[in-house]
Symmetry: C2
Subunit: 342 residues, 2 copies
């Protein structure tokens, strides 16, 4: 059978409680004893049984990351990856859960995860992290959670974010500096918190430069390739078209570039295109896309760190439990100065 704490205790000539103390890094263990125990642990390749731990103590060493899902974008994948690595480093395990709030019975699924697994904490990705009922349910279940880019209710829980508006402003400014004056914009899906922020950033940069924004050049979108395609056809198919378009994410920017191709417009010669996220698609596109890099993996890792921090469960949430990470403008070949008018 597997090695248990008793085996270690016996072999080390101490009580099981002492082994437990060593395993949990508790104080009040003589240095020599600690070392001896650790030695035996290594020899025997002992690993605490997570179920025994979970049963006798409050902690399960299990964290969950919840996805709403729909589009399994590179965004979600990278986030999961970041959380996975950090959880492992912290000696936690990560359970990945999908929560489809569009389907009745999601409350059941949530409770099954939280109570069945006795989770220690949860990471909420957008747009789940903005769903009031999900938050309420988690709070009712007493489960600490951290939101990724929630964009609202800063004090309600810990959160990890980037400066969405600032990033959108940065990339818009970049287009303006290139010489563009006729710039289009494709919005994100309405219920994502990032949507109004990115829109705000765009409008701010335009206003700062004294540039007008045509109604027809503010297109709705849904963060999907197809949404970008439609927006692109609408903006580029008309007689007066923008010389540059900034889409609220890379998938839509890719749709824009396909719309341009269908209309016989070259990128960036005829129209510059910029995206947001630095998803894998941004590098796969042709030409490679100018975009904003979000440190998605790090954001997830930071969320794990916050959840496992002893202070987090405890107190009322204070300002220390909000982290804003840096974004970066990534310039690639989908943008250039506008062609001079003939």
């Amino acid at each position: 059978m597997a090695v248990t704490i008793k085996d270690v205790a016996e072999r080390a000539g101490v009580s099981t409680k002492t082994v437990s103390r060593v395993m949990n890094g508790e104080l009040h263990v003589r240095q020599s004893v600690r070392e001896a125990v650790l030695q035996i642990v290594a020899e025997l390749d002992y690993r605490p049984n997570i179920h025994a731990r979970g049963l006798s103590s409050a902690r399960s060493y299990l964290l969950a990351i919840f996805f709403d899902d729909p589009a399994w974008s590179g965004y979600a994948a990278e986030m999961q990856r970041g959380a996975l690595m950090r959880a492992r480093a912290r000696h936690y395990h990560l359970v990945v859960e999908q929560l489809d709030v569009g389907v009745s019975g999601w409350e059941e699924d949530l409770a099954a995860s939280v109570q069945g697994l006795r989770l220690d904490g949860a990471i909420l990705t957008p747009p789940l992290c903005q769903h009031p009922q999900v938050l309420a349910r988690l709070e009712a279940l007493g489960l600490p959670y951290v939101r990724i880019s929630p964009g609202q209710e800063p004090g309600r829980s810990g959160l990890i974010e980037i400066d969405e508006a600032g990033a959108a402003r940065d990339i818009t400014r970049y287009l303006i500096e290139l010489g563009h004056r006729d710039i289009g914009f494709v919005e994100g899906i309405a219920h994502h918190a990032a949507t109004p922020e990115r829109r705000k950033g765009f409008l701010t940069a335009m206003a700062e430069a004294g540039l007008a924004v045509r109604d027809a050049w503010m297109q709705p979108g849904d963060f999907t390739f197809l949404g970008g395609l439609h927006a692109g056809e609408a903006m580029l198919g008309s007689d007066v078209r923008p010389t540059a378009i900034f889409a609220s994410n890379d998938d839509m920017a890719l749709g824009l570039s396909v719309a341009a191709a269908k209309l016989g417009l070259a990128i960036p010669t005829d129209v510059s295109i910029a995206g947001f996220d630095d998803a894998p698609t941004a590098r796969i596109a042709w030409p490679p896309m100018t975009t904003i890099r979000q440190p998605v993996g790090e954001m997830a890792a930071a969320a794990v760190d916050m959840l496992v921090e002893p202070g987090y469960r405890a107190g009322p949430v204070d300002a220390g439990f909000a982290r804003r990470l840096d974004h970066a403008l990534i310039v690639r070949e989908s943008t250039s100065a506008p062609k001079l008018e003939p």
Copy 2:
């Protein structure tokens, strides 16, 4: 505190063992008693503590899916999704683990998951499922596992696959039926089991049709966009170029189409392009790509089913524990009859 089995037993006026029997769907419980217990369970919203279960019995109700990772393709995402949904339906939880066999210490990571979590079973995705030492290690740890598309050692464990060679043959035949005679091929990465199979299917179809295959039109590849781009430049940049190219996966096919675009070749007019997998990229590409659909989600679901089947852990693996699912040819706009020679 949380509702326990005792609460349910008390309220239902039975012993905890009876409640346990009902929860586990065991026989030998009177119908009326079963219903009464279920009633209370619903009323109290009782959920068995997975840790208590895992501690007292052999089962943990925890399954893991292992990814090698690197390219977080749509393939991996869809696989995870399929496993997730089915695991939930079977009242199991899914832990997602990344295992990088390129980094020393992976054995530690594996043991930590398997022993620490007391997993009930594991799903191995390619190319992990072909790594002899990973399999050996799992067997040493006594953990039942199911391989996805391993392509070798059929009797070593249960496996889920599609007919890789047959699928590659199908799509090649389709190109031939369109009238193509000069067809190029881009291979997958060498250590994937699918690579020789898809190659074999391609060559079979060509041989059947009595078509020669030029050496220069059999390009190496690595399943990445960039690999496809290079292969495309090599084949399409030369004077004599194929009228159609079949890439071993969609990411590479996308690379091909970008190579074509850079060289001023139109798809499918100048060159037809076909991929494999029906990844999200296949639909995002322009024009949308002809490809082979693998039922990736279903494959993962089938793997879960196999793992939780009581008979699976038990006996030596027999032929019943291999499932071959159906693939499908998906015709989109990246392929057409070749242009007539001028």
